[in-house]
């Protein structure tokens, strides 16, 4: 049976892993390759490296990171941040990325997602969506959550699926950094509406939040950063707990 996935997200800035609270006040949390290796040994199912500064600043250095990760790790990983065209995606693929995630660029140019899916296959294309509720509507934000758009989460996610996204990575900005649980209601709606996997992000604080995101949020995968980086939850303990709760995970 297909297992629910636990994904560790490593936000990378200037070659170092960082994680902020609601995208602000970044803190250091180690070397991205070493951290990735440690997670892999602990049994994490996947890694996501998000180059969080990339949209606004230069990003060439990400290629050497991708290459080092591909050389040292034997689990899948996704690279995101600042991918603006097919050429960026192809370079990441050549350097060893298994998947790429696009966010702002897809909003700017939705055709990009169609082009990427056609050229590399939809399984290569993760569409990341950051959204928060404004007047009871989930509004999509770009540029690391800094800019609101006119797009609404559910219709946007559906358009991305139709254009060839292989997965949707939904980060609730309302929940991100607060460690009070995932946006299960919105996640459940997304997951039932879409026929591609949904990765839940934002809000993990304790082990029961993962149980809830799989059972109530119907997520296919759950992503977290700080609680893993700072050792608040150890991956092996989390997986043992989930199995005890009747959730199929890989051990």
């Amino acid at each position: 049976m297909l297992a629910k996935r636990i994904i560790a997200c490593l936000d990378v800035k200037d070659g170092q892993t960082v994680k902020g609270v609601s995208f602000e006040n970044l803190r250091y949390a180690g070397d991205p390759v070493e951290l990735g290796k440690a997670y892999s040994e602990q049994g994490v199912d996947e890694l996501v490296y998000l180059d969080i500064t990339a949209t606004n600043e230069g990003r060439k250095q990400i290629y050497s990171l991708v290459e080092k990760v591909a050389q040292n790790l034997s689990i899948p990983f996704t690279i995101g941040g600042g991918i603006s065209g097919v050429e960026d995606a192809e370079n990441l693929l050549i350097h060893g990325a298994d998947k790429i995630s696009v966010n702002s660029a897809a909003v700017r140019n939705p055709q990009l997602v169609s082009d990427l899916a056609l050229k590399f296959g939809k399984q290569f294309v993760v569409v990341a969506i950051d959204a928060k509720t404004i007047e009871n509507q989930w509004i999509v934000h770009t540029h690391g959550g800094k800019r609101p758009t006119e797009k609404e989460l559910f219709s946007w996610a559906k358009e991305m699926e139709d254009r060839g996204a292989g997965e949707i990575l939904f980060t609730s900005m309302n929940h991100d950094g607060h460690q009070t649980g995932f946006a299960n209601e919105a996640l459940c709606k997304l997951s039932e509406m879409l026929s591609i996997p949904v990765i839940a992000s934002g809000g993990a604080g304790k082990m029961s939040h993962f149980k809830d995101v799989f059972q109530k949020g119907k997520a296919d995968a759950a992503l977290a950063a700080s609680i893993f980086h700072f050792g608040k939850i150890a991956i092996p303990d989390l997986k043992q707990y989930l199995i005890k709760e009747g959730i199929n995970v890989r051990i």
Binding site: I75, G96, I196, D220
Partner: protein, 195 residues
Amino acid sequence: MNIAIIDYKAGNVKSVEAALQRLNCQAYLTKDHEKILSADKVVFPGVGNAGTAMQALKKEGLDILIPKLKQPVLGICLGMQLMCRHSEEEDTPGLNIFDAEVKKFVPENGEKIPHMGWNNIFNLKTPLYQGVKEDSFVYFVHSYMVPVFEYTAAECCYVKNFSASIAKNNFYGTQFHPEKSGSIGFKILENFIKL
């Protein structure tokens, strides 16, 4: 041990190359026919779109070369699918090493497509799975699959049972990515090297 990894710009080959190097193999990417013919083993990788990939193979004459190879060949993911007769993906004729039709997953109970993530493999056959426990978890990413047939070497269940792996003579295929499947995948690649 030298291993040629067929270079036809279809997917992530860095990880396969790195995994083989971790196994102390001389692994190199190439589209050169002589180099492929003289390699001890050949890996035929692939992630992406079947139609685009077949075009790329044809451009280099690799569609003629691959079926004639005599040494052990391992097709991974799309590489395995392309070794089959035909794929529903863009109605693409394959290399016809295996007489099988590659079909799109048709969800029956709201299953998500692509089939993405870690799933168990069972009914393990051939030396590729020596020392690999039944129901081990390996990593899959695909929207099309090869049904279970005469040359199925391992099965997986998603919607229904399908070929997680196929084998015939010197040709082996894995629908999953051994290079992304942690220690289990490492063992399978090690077994391939020992063939």
